[in-house]
Amino acid sequence: MVVPSDNHEPRIVGFLCNWCAYQGADLAGTSRMAYTPNVRIVRVMCTGRIDPTFVLKAFSSGADGVIIAGCHPGDCHYSEGNYKTTRRIAFLRKLLAQMGIDGERFRLEWVSAGEGAKWAQIADEMSAAIKEKGPLAWRENLKEA
C-alpha cells in the first residue's frame, strides 16, 4: 500500500490540441506565469485524435492523473473533433470509474489559445487535488498482497 506523503509530486499527463489548448499553455509560458511543473504535455493535432488507449496506457504506466484539453465546443479547427472527444470521454470516464480511477484524476477541459491563465489555474488545481489524494501507483495495484 502506497501512503500519501507530503513530498509526493504528482505525475500528470496532459494531451493538448495543437490549435487551442497547446497555444494556451504556450501563452502561460511566454507570459511567465508561475504554475505547476507536474503536467507533462503531449501535443496532439486535435483532441479527436486521442484514442482511449492513450489514457489507459498513461495510467497503466504510472500516471497519477490525465488531463485532456482542447478547443471550446464550436471552435474546433477540424469542425467536429472536440465533439467526438466529448463522446469518447463520457464513456471513458464511466469505464475508469469502474476501474477505481475517479474523476479528479481524469479531466477534460476546454482552453482557448488566449486562455493562458485558465490553463495555469486548471493545472494547479488538478495537481493540488491529486497531491491530496496521493499516488495512483498502478503497478503496486497489480502485485499480490
Binding site: M1, D51, P52, T53, V55, L56, K57, F59, S60, P73, E80, Y83, K84, T86, R87, R88, A90, F91, L92, K94, L95, Q98, M99, G100, I101, L136, W138, N141, L142, K143, E144, A145
Partner: protein
C-alpha cells in the same frame, strides 16, 4: 521413429476448450494416431509426476487452456513450459484471461467474503475459510494459494502461439493441428487459428451508416436479422474483435461479445470498443451523450468481457485497507513477488 508428444492441460477454465478438441470428431483419431499423448488430465489418467519425469523439452506440442489464478496453475505453467518445445495458449482464458479474468474486478478477500459468508445459501457459523496449510493427525494438508489477480498464460511464462476463441471453433482447431502435423509453423508470437481482420469482415449483415440515439440490450428490441446489430443500437464487439470465427453469434441474432480478442495492432480491445461505441452516438449535446452512456449498466463488463487481465490496466484498483491480506497472503509472499510479470509476446 517415435511419435511427436502432445500434452493438454487446463488451468482456470470451464472445460469448454477440452470439449473443443474432442469436437474434432473423427479427426481426433488422426491426432491420436500422429501424436503420442503424454498428458491430458481431463480425458485420461495422468499424474503430475508423469510430467515431472519427462526430460526437458520432450513434449513437442502443449495446448494449455485456462487462465492462471492460483499457485498450482502457476506451477503447472512453469513445469509445462520447461517440458515443452512449443507451448500454445489455447482458448481465450489462456490467451487473455477470459471469463475467469472478470474476477479482477474483485480480489481474494472480496471473493472469499462473498463465497464463504455472504451468499444466501451459505451456512458458515464458524467462519471457516480454506487454509493453505492444515494439520490433521495423518500429517499436513495443503491447498494452492488463491491469488488476488488473474493472469494470462503469457504473463507467467513465455508462450509460442495463441489460439483465441471461447472456445476456438472446430475448423480453426483442426487447421492449427493440421499445420503442426505438416510442420507449417508461423513465426513465434503469432496468433493462429484466426484471421487478420475483424468479426465485421466475417459477418454477412448489411452495414450502412452507423448513427444511434440509444443502446439496447438484446432482449429489449427485435432486431432486423439482415442488418448490422450495432446500427440498430445493440452493442456488438465485432468492430474491435479479431475475426476467423465465422461470426456464428451474428448468424443467430446475437451480438459479438469479443471472445477472439483484439485485431492485429490493437493494444487494448476494450479501449477500441469503447471508442467505437462512443463514436456512433448521434448527438453533440453533452447531457444527451451522458444519458446514452448512463443507460449502459456495465461498461467494463462489455469492454473487457473476455480480456480484463490482458488489458492495459489488467484489473480494478484494490483498496488494500478495505481488503486486508488474509492468511493466504503470507504464503504468497513467501513464494516471492508473484506479480512480476512476463510481457506478452508481440
Amino acid at each position: 521413429m517415435s511419435k511427436p508428444k502432445l500434452a493438454l492441460y487446463w488451468a482456470a477454465s470451464c472445460g469448454g476448450c477440452e470439449i473443443a478438441v474432442v469436437r474434432l470428431y473423427a479427426k481426433i483419431l488422426d491426432v491420436a494416431d500422429f501424436f503420442d499423448i503424454v498428458f491430458w488430465p481431463c480425458i485420461m489418467d495422468f499424474k503430475y509426476k508423469d510430467v515431472e519425469a519427462l526430460p526437458d523439452k520432450s513434449i513437442d506440442l502443449c495446448l494449455f487452456n485456462g487462465a492462471i489464478r492460483n499457485s498450482e496453475q502457476e506451477h503447472m505453467a512453469h513445469l509445462l513450459r520447461e517440458k515443452s518445445k512449443v507451448l500454445v495458449a489455447y482458448g481465450t482464458c489462456a490467451y487473455m484471461g477470459g471469463i475467469p479474468g472478470l474476477a479482477n474486478v474483485a480480489n481474494r478477500e472480496a471473493i472469499f467474503e462473498r463465497v464463504y459468508h455472504e451468499t444466501p445459501s451459505t451456512v458458515n457459523a464458524d467462519s471457516v475459510r480454506p487454509q493453505v496449510r492444515y494439520q490433521v493427525p495423518e500429517g499436513e494438508l495443503t491447498l494452492p494459494v488463491f491469488y488476488d489477480t488473474v493472469r494470462t498464460l503469457a504473463q507467467v511464462v513465455p508462450v509460442e502461439y495463441f489460439v483465441p476463441g471461447c472456445p476456438p471453433v472446430k475448423e480453426q482447431t483442426e487447421a492449427v493441428l493440421q499445420a503442426v502435423m505438416e510442420g507449417r509453423l508461423p513465426p513465434p508470437g503469432s496468433v493462429v487459428g484466426a484471421s487478420d481482420k475483424t468479426v465485421c469482415d466475417d459477418c454477412i449483415r448489411i452495414k450502412e451508416e452507423k448513427r444511434v440515439s440509444s443502446f439496447y440490450r438484446p432482449y429489449e428490441i427485435i432486431p432486423d436479422p439482415s442488418r448490422c446489430l450495432l446500427e440498430q443500437g445493440i452493442i456488438c464487439a465485432g468492430p474491435a474483435t479479431r475475426g476467423g470465427c465465422g461470426a456464428p453469434c451474428l448468424s443467430v441474432n446475437m451480438p459479438c461479445r469479443g471472445c477472439y480478442g483484439p485485431p492485429p495492432n490493437v493494444v487494448d480491445q476494450g479501449g477500441k470498443l469503447l471508442s467505437a461505441l462512443a463514436s456512433i452516438i448521434d448527438s453533440q449535446d453533452p447531457d444527451e451523450i451522458e444519458r446514452v452512456a448512463d443507460a449502459i449498466p456495465d461498461l467494463l463488463g462489455i469492454c473487457y468481457l473476455f480480456g480484463l487481465p490482458a488489458s492495459l490496466l489488467r484489473r480494478v484498483r484494490q483498496d488494500r485497507k478495505a481488503f486486508p491480506a488474509g492468511v493466504t497472503g503470507e504464503l504468497a509472499r513467501e513464494q516471492g513477488d508473484v506479480a512480476v510479470m512476463t510481457q506478452r509476446a508481440p
